[in-house]
């Protein structure tokens, strides 16, 4: 009989991170492999703390973490993991006096890429990928918020790391840039991204994790998240006080979540419906 060891790109078991008495991440277990994984949850759910732990920036207080088969609690393995991951923090500050080219090249230096010519080509490549080829030699202080976000994204992507950890990567991006981001991420190896934007998850992610209060409350495909609301969404031309959530749509009709009354016009649920129902269950 042979034993097979399955190595996930990310394997986290019972992760805990506390700030004082509050647990930002509370006994969370997850795995991630090739593809795009979406992390959903309200503000303060622990998404950023989780991503910081996965990026090896923050040490968990308890639990076990393996990134690309490496243990980040061991300094040498942590450094090796960092060579192979790209991390985009939430709304990062940049050096305003640098150009995008200077900054990404500097990040490449810090990622231990020693060949100058290779760095130049790689820096140019990632800046072109994020659509900054025309401004790569302009000072960062003169760029818009969306452009700065793309500079930071390019910095995370330099060296084509097999694991990308992105904290709200679409912040500040216009619809055109969001489409470009989707196309970029769909080509990447393994991506874990936190977002508030459910349409991003729907368009990009093969798997979704939903967090509330530091705990994982859902794990599955976007379709499975939407299916949570199967048979529990209906539309009407009036508000329904018995619904657990009601809102007016752009067509003027009302969309309701909950237990539909007899004869209600039940509609196909979306990812938003599934998420909202889950949110209602977690935070009544």
């Amino acid at each position: 009989m042979s034993t097979t060891t399955i190595t996930h790109t990310i394997a986290a078991t019972d992760l805990v991170k506390r700030y004082g008495r509050r647990s930002a991440v509370d006994g969370l277990t997850l795995t991630a492999d090739a593809g795009v994984v979406g992390l959903l949850g309200p503000n303060g759910a622990g998404k950023t703390t989780l991503l910081r732990m996965l990026a090896t920036v923050l040490a968990p207080d308890a639990g076990r973490l393996e990134i690309l088969g490496l243990d980040p609690s061991v300094p040498r393995e942590r450094t090796e993991a960092r060579r192979r991951l790209g991390y985009l923090p939430q709304s990062p500050s940049l050096y305003p006096g640098f150009t995008p080219f200077d900054l990404v090249d500097y990040v490449a230096v810090l990622k231990e890429h020693t060949d100058r010519e290779w760095r130049r080509q790689e820096t140019r490549r990632v800046l072109e990928e994020v659509g900054l080829e025309d401004v790569m030699h302009r000072k960062i202080r003169t760029l818009s918020g969306g452009m700065r976000q793309r500079v930071a994204l390019a910095a995370a992507m330099v060296g084509n790391p097999p694991l990308l950890l992105l904290d709200e990567p679409a912040t500040g991006l216009d619809p055109d840039q969001r489409l470009r981001l989707r196309s970029l991420l769909s080509q990447a190896s393994t991506v874990v991204m936190s977002t508030h934007n459910i349409s991003e998850v729907s368009a990009l992610c093969q798997r979704v994790y939903v967090m509330f209060d530091g705990r994982l409350t859902f794990e599955g495909t976007p379709g499975e998240l939407a299916a949570l609301a199967e048979g529990r969404v209906w539309e009407d031309d009036r508000p329904d006080p018995d619904a657990i959530r009601s809102w007016q749509t752009s067509t003027g009709s009302y969309r309701h979540l909950g237990d539909p009354p007899a004869g209600a016009q039940v509609v196909t649920p979306t990812l938003d419906d599934g998420y909202l129902l889950l949110a209602r269950r977690e935070r009544p």
């Binding site: 910081r52 990026a55 090896t56 920036v57 923050l58 040490a59 300094p75 942590r78 450094t79 090796e80 960092r82 060579r83 991951l85 790209g86 991390y87 985009l88 923090p89 990062p92 500050s93 940049l94 050096y95 305003p96 006096g97 640098f98 200077d102 900054l103 090249d105 500097y106 990040v107 230096v109 810090l110 990622k111 231990e112 020693t114 100058r116 760095r119 930071a152 910095a155 950890l165």
Partner: protein, 188 residues
């Protein structure tokens, strides 16, 4: 590889606090020359101001973006210090020379400054990330301020005063201790 990090690190470092500190010392030196009064009583505070300004230069605006690169925060800090410290020491020596504070008046004039700077760096290394620069810059000022504050430290038991003002009495011991403390900090 050395040249690859040198220029961007120099550009990424915060030079303004050090320039401001050096400017303040230049003004003081000019004032003392003009009035003919020696600023020897302020030497400790001046050394602390430069040390604090150097530690303030460790502030990294893009620290969050660089948090997960394989070049650790400790190495990046060491590189910044390698650039900032010689400038700070040069500014200190220039101040001593212009102010006429000779080595006979102060002993070995660089040692106290280096001790205060090393202390600030050690406090920076051991402080929580958000407070590191403020705590690190405050440490030399607070310590040197003990001498100038009206607490009468020098009137205390001589042994206690020697400990409280160790940066003056045993600057190289303080420097060595601070360096050990900094290097043993396991920064992520």
């Amino acid at each position: 590889m050395t040249r690859a990090w040198l220029l961007p690190t120099a550009r990424a470092s915060e030079w303004l606090p050090l320039l401001a500190g050096a400017g303040a010392l230049a003004a003081l030196a000019g004032l003392s020359t003009a009035t003919g009064r020696s600023p020897i009583g302020l030497a400790g505070v001046c050394a602390a101001v430069l040390a604090a300004a150097t530690v303030a230069g460790l502030h990294d605006r893009a620290g969050a973006l660089l948090a997960a690169v394989p070049t650790s925060a400790a190495v990046r800090r060491a590189r910044r210090l390698a650039l900032l410290t010689p400038v700070a020491v040069a500014a200190w020596l220039a101040y001593l020379a212009v102010s006429g504070l000779t080595s006979t008046a102060l002993g070995w004039p660089v040692a106290e400054h280096v001790a205060l700077l090393a202390t600030g760096v050690a406090v920076h290394a051991w402080s929580p990330e958000r407070l590191a620069v403020v705590a690190g810059a405050a440490a030399p000022l607070v310590w040197a301020g003990l001498e100038a504050a009206p607490l009468g430290v020098e009137r205390l038991d001589p042994e206690l005063a020697e400990v409280l003002l160790a940066w003056q009495h045993h600057p190289w011991v303080v420097t060595l201790t601070a360096l050990v403390a900094t290097s043993t900090r396991r920064s992520r």
